[in-house]
Amino acid sequence: MPLTYYLVLGAILFSLGVLGVLTRRNAIIIFLSIELMLNAVNLTFVALSNHVQNLDGQVFVFFVMIVAAAEVAVGLALIVAIFRLKETVYVDEINLMKW
């Protein structure tokens, strides 16, 4: 039953991404973990597309990639802007307001 394996792999990668977002302090690594989560979702989509035998899931993956690219453009621009102002990328040092 290889489909199960794919879904489990997707869930493990997604969990690793969540763990990274919640435990790391470096904004860039948090961002990388979010990318990992999106990739886990993409893998799940493609596996399920194979399971239900239509291509809609793969089209979804295509759009997720577009969104990921857009988010990366804006997110990295934000990181650069913050770094210029505060010389740090650690989320706990970017904290003027109570979190």
Binding site: L3, T23, N39, M65, V72, L76
Partner: protein, 174 residues
């Protein structure tokens, strides 16, 4: 054969993802994530999604990760001093959340063991090659495709606004 390939690729993906998480140096993290992305591309091929596999490599490994590396180099970010800290409450919640997700995986296993999940091997069933995915994109998903262009435009405008160094001279008031 396919199962062996799957396990090799899956092991590489999980191990390098773990490596990305635990590594102190952001540059290594990016490189390890690229390894994960490559093995995911291999899995896409196994799942008959050749178009997605190609786009995935071009967009993710080729463009997005290079952008990450570029920013890290540009800002000259050093390795973390303290990379994972499990003392704070939020970190414990993080572990909890992760365990919930792992629990969910077991639910999925349980579900599919009931004989519902089928799998179509390499080269069988419908294939996600360029013509068939392309046809869907320009018929059924025409509107989302156009929406995506607006989305990308917003992102371009936004990235320029945020990363521009100086504000323009302010526009006059009437």
């Amino acid at each position: 054969m396919q199962e062996i390939l799957f396990f090799v690729l899956a092991a590489v993906a999980v191990l390098s993802a773990l490596g990305m998480l635990l590594n102190k140096n952001p540059v290594y993290s990016v490189l390890l994530l690229i390894v994960t992305l490559f093995s995911i591309a291999g899995l896409y091929v196994l799942l008959n999604a050749s178009f997605i596999a190609a786009v995935h490599l071009i967009v993710y490994a080729g463009a997005i990760m290079v952008l990450f590396l570029f920013v890290i180099m540009l800002l000259d970010i050093r390795a973390d001093v303290e990379h994972i800290n499990l003392k704070r409450l939020s970190r414990i919640l993080a572990l909890l959340a992760t365990f919930i997700f792992l629990g969910e995986t077991f639910l999925i296993i349980w579900m599919s063991l009931k004989g519902k999940a089928a799998f179509v091997g390499l080269g069988e069933g419908i294939l996600g090659d360029v013509p068939s995915v392309g046809e869907l994109l320009f018929t059924k998903y025409l509107l989302p495709f156009e929406i995506a262009s607006v989305l990308l435009l917003v992102a371009i405008v936004g990235a320029i606004i945020l990363a521009k160094r100086k504000l323009r001279p302010e526009p006059p008031a009437a």
